[in-house]
């Protein structure tokens, strides 16, 4: 594969402008004239042999993924390291189309014999299931590529010694333990997890793609109990997983935040319980990313809109014929779907259909302009090329449409958190994520944060407890009336976004600045718990 053909492959997606192309190429995959350096020649030969086998059995399309999933974890509670673990899972997944129907089989035995058995099983499954197929699959075209891609990291987390990682957590916990607690008791839980996917994708259309995707997943919880009252409160650190190396952990302001988390949990127990009612909500990016995920990321997945998740994850308030230019939100709302964003969890070189990673607008000035698609879905959306959103959790899963990084763009005009607070009369500032729940068509949501603060006459006055807000997606985004600038932008994300049957996890990030939503409905969670209670019998 030469560079010109590679470029043609990217352009063939039709989703990139020439301006975008230069930027994305600079960030993304490069084409190789030489054979791939990894995986081994024998693994590449095995993939080719299995593709040939599937074709000889009548498959009209076949792809083989050889995937090695690596994970290491260090966990600690208080001053004890409770676990050090290292795991590896290697296997192959073979996906075919026969009679216009998918078949898929996966095995841990990466050998010609086991692979041929899997190929046979996948083809037999496709043949059998084709009796139930209404319309044969019609994949959007993609040019064959031969390419490699790696998450750009500065410090390989797998090369940081377990001893150092364990000591890091013990040191952080010791800092938190120094925070005065009075008679209250502090408990700390932490985990430092890193994962790497080493993935070789080969297709019957000639693509050969090697990717090495690294992600870092740190987490810490501080829980404070008041033994006399029998009350307790918790505060998670705002640190969230990212597509980075160990440098992410080292650069994160852990020392300051873990002490703040312990102090916040302590203060939360006796904080003022919120008065239910309407407030202007100032949502910090450590909180807002998940609201974006639930109210924008999921509803704009085409498979949901087409009814393919009706039995599990749900459908969408958007419909196949009424999504274009849907008035999603206020003019401040500019949302980008982007698998090329540095440090983001869904960032890859290519998706699991072999389609190059892309960046495209989903919502512009409040109007919906695109949906997330795979090769299987693009034509159903009247498009000629996939948006590149196919992903499988591991070698054992069939790929399907998964969410890219979906992010709210910052205000091009200067606007800080302080500016927004000063401009707010009766509001609540919410940081971090706690409870989150949304209906299966993404209308009704209810969220809460790790900490909340009263904003009164332009000032943050005191901490609040028992705060949650609820609303309806379209109304909520139309009430977005103030937006922070680039200096307020942060990247949040989750490692385990569940969808599909059997359920698969998808790592995904969401960037955003601080934003204000006018006149939102706030409930008091503790009062909610009393609504139908006759009184605890203790």
């Amino acid at each position: 594969m030469d560079r010109r053909l590679f470029l043609k492959g990217v352009l063939a997606t039709g989703a990139l402008t020439l301006g975008d192309l230069d930027l994305s190429l600079a960030r993304r995959a490069r084409a190789f004239d030489n054979p791939l350096s990894t995986p081994s020649k024998s693994e590449q030969d095995l993939a080719e042999a299995l593709i040939a086998q599937a074709r000889s059995l009548g498959a009209t399309y076949c792809d083989v993924r050889l995937v090695r999933m690596l994970a290491q974890s260090v966990s600690a509670r208080d001053n004890i390291v409770t676990g050090l673990s290292d795991s590896e899972s290697y296997g192959l997944g073979i996906r075919v189309i026969k009679n216009g129907t998918w078949g898929f089989s996966a095995t841990r035995e990466v050998s010609l014999d086991a692979g041929k058995t899997a190929a046979q099983e996948a083809v037999t499954m496709a043949e059998s299931n084709s009796k139930l197929q209404r319309v044969p699959l019609d994949l959007a075209p993609v040019a064959a590529v031969q390419s490699e891609w790696k998450t750009p990291i500065q410090k390989n987390p797998f090369e940081v010694s377990f001893k150092d990682r364990a000591q890091f957590l013990l040191d952080m916990h010791a800092l938190a333990a120094s925070v005065p607690m009075g008679n209250n008791r502090l408990t700390l839980h932490s985990n430092l997890r890193c994962v790497r996917e080493e993935k070789y994708f080969a297709s019957s259309e000639g693509s050969k793609i090697w990717q090495e995707i690294t992600r870092m997943d740190p987490s810490t919880w501080a829980i404070v109990a008041d033994p006399a009252k029998g009350e307790f409160a918790s505060r998670a650190l705002f640190v969230l997983p990212q597509g980075r190396g160990f440098e992410y952990v080292e650069q994160y302001p852990y020392k300051d935040e873990i002490k703040q988390a312990a102090a916040d949990a302590h203060e939360k127990i006796s904080a003022v319980s919120v008065e239910p009612g309407k407030y202007d909500l100032i949502l910090h990016p450590t909180h807002l990313w998940l609201t974006i995920h639930e109210t924008v990321g999921h509803p704009t997945e085409l498979d949901r809109i087409l009814g393919y998740e009706a039995n599990f994850a749900g459908t969408s308030f958007l419909t196949p014929d009424k999504w274009k230019d849907y008035p999603y939100g206020s003019d401040y709302m500019n949302i980008v779907a982007d698998r090329t964003q540095d440090g983001a969890l869904a960032t890859v070189g290519f998706d699991d259909d072999g389609v190059a990673a892309q960046s495209y607008p989903l919502i512009q000035k409040g109007e919906l302009v695109a949906l997330q698609t795979t090769r299987e879905q693009a034509k159903a959306n009247g498009e000629t090329a996939s948006r590149g959103e196919s992903y499988a959790e591991g070698w054992w899963n069939i790929p399907f449409q998964r969410m890219p990084n979906v992010s709210l763009q910052p205000n091009p005009k200067k606007k800080s958190l302080d500016d927004i607070v000063k401009d707010t009369g009766k509001g609540i500032l919410i940081k971090g994520n706690s409870s989150y729940s949304i209906d299966q068509q993404r209308y009704n949501f209810q969220f809460s944060g790790q900490v909340a603060f009263a904003v009164e006459d332009g000032k943050i006055t005191h901490m609040l407890r028992d705060v949650a807000y609820y609303g309806k997606t379209e109304k909520f985004w139309n009430e977005l009336d103030a937006l922070g600038d680039q200096t307020e932008y942060m990247l949040g994300g989750a490692m385990y976004d569940g969808k599909g049957e059997p359920m698969q996890s998808n790592p995904v990030s969401h960037g955003c600045p601080v934003a204000r939503f006018a006149n939102q409905r706030v409930i008091n969670t503790r009062q909610q718990s009393a609504n139908s209670r006759k009184g605890m019998m203790s």
Binding site: L132, F232, G307, F400, S437, D439, Q440, N444, Y470, Q528
Partner: protein, 448 residues
């Protein structure tokens, strides 16, 4: 090919044979799963996978390291053991690390393995037939259906280098489906789960989902508030799972749980819910057989969690049991709630009034000290009066605690085998339809 129990016994012995540490333990699992998925009245993504993996922990003194691998070659296993030992050498001492279990365990016999359900060709044929039947039913009513069928075979074993060995196997089959009207304004759902493919009763599931979709059309709006509810067994199962996951002794005794009480005491032995409630687990239960061992090979025995409304037990890991001078208590592997004598459909005809809930969705914690959860109703919410379903009701978000729900239980049907929608499929459950005197619906949801 997956490994049978004899092969897992040999594999576990071989792995520990590579150990040079003071002691070691290994868990080995060999699984095969196959599924068929359909949506929009057509087949969608389907697949099959098999895997065998080993999780090895090597221990020297109070230092432990754990490695998981699915490379079963001698070299691969030797490397994995050496890596576990290397990690253990880097680990700080863990004062809570327990010595291996050496006491003879009295393992129950479980009938969770159904040999016929391991016939891959037969289960594939059954999945296809069931999907065809669902699509046929949908087409006959101009509905659109989506569903999922999965069959799994799970063989697993545990061994430590001090002589304890246990092996167990089970099969698990699930079928769930949704029927939707073409205009997307009504929806119905049902789910079945069994260790035996032959006991799924798929035709009844198809019929129930179709009936719900028909009955829920033209749903009416009513104001959010506290209503009497009738929870179908699947909806009850979801809240009961949420309840049992919180039954951990350590946080309760350290003041970090809904079961904590002032000054370091707990609710153990106290009446915390309605006195009619008896909630327990039993791996040898004939209808919902389940796993026979837990942490470190500890035997799982029949356990009352709630009896006569009293909190009878909390789960207790081996360290915390040792520290508190109590016996360790592994978590439940299944869950059963006693009920009355009438089947759910007959019980419903005796209900005076209330909202019938088909299933719950997106359940999350909302206030831990009160075990408050939030979630939504989904795929069929109905107003029932004098034992009859009168009309559909628009969906609600609810904010409610399973503790409060169990306090408010007034009556129940005979328990039946069911499966949660939002919760974990791996826990077999047999629970009744519940009639509850008050349930807090907080806001309306337009979702169908």
């Amino acid at each position: 090919m997956i490994l049978d129990l004899d092969e897992l016994e040999g594999l576990s012995k071989k792995i520990l044979g590579f150990s040079k540490s003071e002691w070691a333990e290994v868990s080995v699992e060999s699984n095969h799963e196959a599924n068929l998925r359909f949506a929009a009245n057509t087949v969608s993504t389907s697949g099959a996978s098999e895997n065998t993996s080993a999780t090895i922990t090597a221990v020297n003194g109070k230092r432990a390291g754990t490695v998981s691998t699915n490379d079963l070659s001698d070299d691969g296993l030797r490397r994995a053991m050496a890596r576990a030992e290397e990690i253990a050498s880097l680990a700080p001492e863990n004062e809570e690390l327990m010595a291996p279990l050496t006491a003879k365990q009295n393992y129950l016999r479980s009938s969770a393995f159904d040999a016929r359900s391991t016939d891959y060709d037969w289960t594939a044929e059954e999945r296809s037939k069931i999907a065809q039947a669902a699509i046929r039913e949908a087409t006959a009513h101009s509905f659109e259906t989506a569903g999922f069928l999965e069959s799994g075979v799970y063989n697993n074993a545990y061994r430590n280098s001090k002589g304890l060995f246990v092996a167990d196997q089970h099969t698990r089959n699930t079928f769930s489906l949704t029927m939707r009207t073409a205009d997307g304004k009504s929806s119905g759902w049902n789910k079945r789960a069994s260790h035996s493919m032959g006991q799924l009763d798929s035709q009844m599931a198809i019929l129930r989902a179709s009936e719900k979709c028909t009955a829920w059309q033209d749903a009416k709006d009513i104001d959010p508030g506290v209503y009497k509810v009738i929870l179908e067994p699947s909806a009850a199962a979801d809240l009961l799972q949420q309840f049992v996951w919180s039954l951990d002794a350590r946080p309760a005794e350290e003041g970090r749980s809904a079961f904590s009480r002032p000054n370091g005491t707990t609710a153990l032995g106290q009446t915390i819910v309605n006195e009619k409630v008896h909630l327990y687990s039993d791996p040898s239960h004939p209808l919902v057989p389940s796993g026979i061992y837990g942490e470190s090979g500890l035997a799982v025995h029949p356990t009352d969690w709630i009896k006569d409304g009293k909190l009878m037990n909390l789960t207790r890991d081996r360290f915390w049991a040792n520290k508190t001078g109590k016996d360790p208590m592994p978590g439940p592997t299944n869950l059963i709630m006693d009920g009355g004598g009438m089947l759910p459909e007959d019980f419903l005809t005796t209900v005076k009034e209330g909202l019938l809930v088909t299933s719950f969705w997106y359940i999350r914690d909302l206030d831990d000290p009160t075990l408050l959860k939030t979630g939504l109703t989904r795929d069929g919410l109905f107003w029932v009066e004098d034992g009859k379903i009168l009309y559909g009701i628009t969906n609600f978000r609810w904010n409610e605690s399973p503790l409060t729900m169990l306090q408010n239980v007034m009556d129940f049907s005979k328990p039946v085998v069911t499966a949660p929608r939002d919760g974990w499929d791996g826990m077999p459950m047999c629970v009744p339809m519940l009639y509850v005197s008050g349930f807090n619906f907080a806001s309306q949801s337009d979702a169908v």
